[in-house]
Point group: C2
Chain length 97, copies 2
Amino acid sequence: MPLQNHAYKYKKVISIGTVSELTGLSHRQIRYYESRKLIFPERSKTGIRKYSFHDVEILIEIANHLEEGVWTNEIREELKKRQNNHQIKIEQPYNTC
Amino acid sequence: MPLQNHAYKYKKVISIGTVSELTGLSHRQIRYYESRKLIFPERSKTGIRKYSFHDVEILIEIANHLEEGVWTNEIREELKKRQNNHQIKIEQPYNTC
DNA sequence: CGTGTAAGGAATTCTGACACG
DNA sequence: CGTGTAAGGAATTCTGACACG
């Protein structure tokens, strides 16, 4: 069956204009955070960026941190750490919900 | 807070090209099913259709039914009935998960 | 009835650059 | 460093219609 399990949150299907509306960020800002390695959208065959709901949430956090004067470098490190924690969690077979 | 609860499934954010890829249906088919009142995308201010993951799933079911020779009228009635059942469920405060 | 297509226009997105600071 | 903008081009989407059946 070509259906996703339940990963609506991680499927990259939203284009930048909609992400801009959901986050309140400009296209410029969203693309810049990508160049700073904070988010990793996928691309359609023709090069259009596609984001997930998870990306949208990360973007909102990024915006909050930047308002507080945190640099993109620091934000990147924080996101990396969290990523690793998630990896560890996934490796443990319990707590599916 | 301008965030959604957890309704990634129902938020209308996917444009028709992506829906076409996810479902394997043509733009024409997807728009036609809308004209037949089977799906109800939202529109951006400029008129671009936006679909949810839930819409994508409904579209896949529609495609399956059509392959079996079911008419859009019948499909519409079936979807309506299911809608009503969901309404009833929502009115009962238990079983959040 | 359900779907394909060519047609013309409008809206979206992309990249690289200049600018400010 | 983080963000705005004008620039030109490419890709996307929209509508109404003709076509087949």
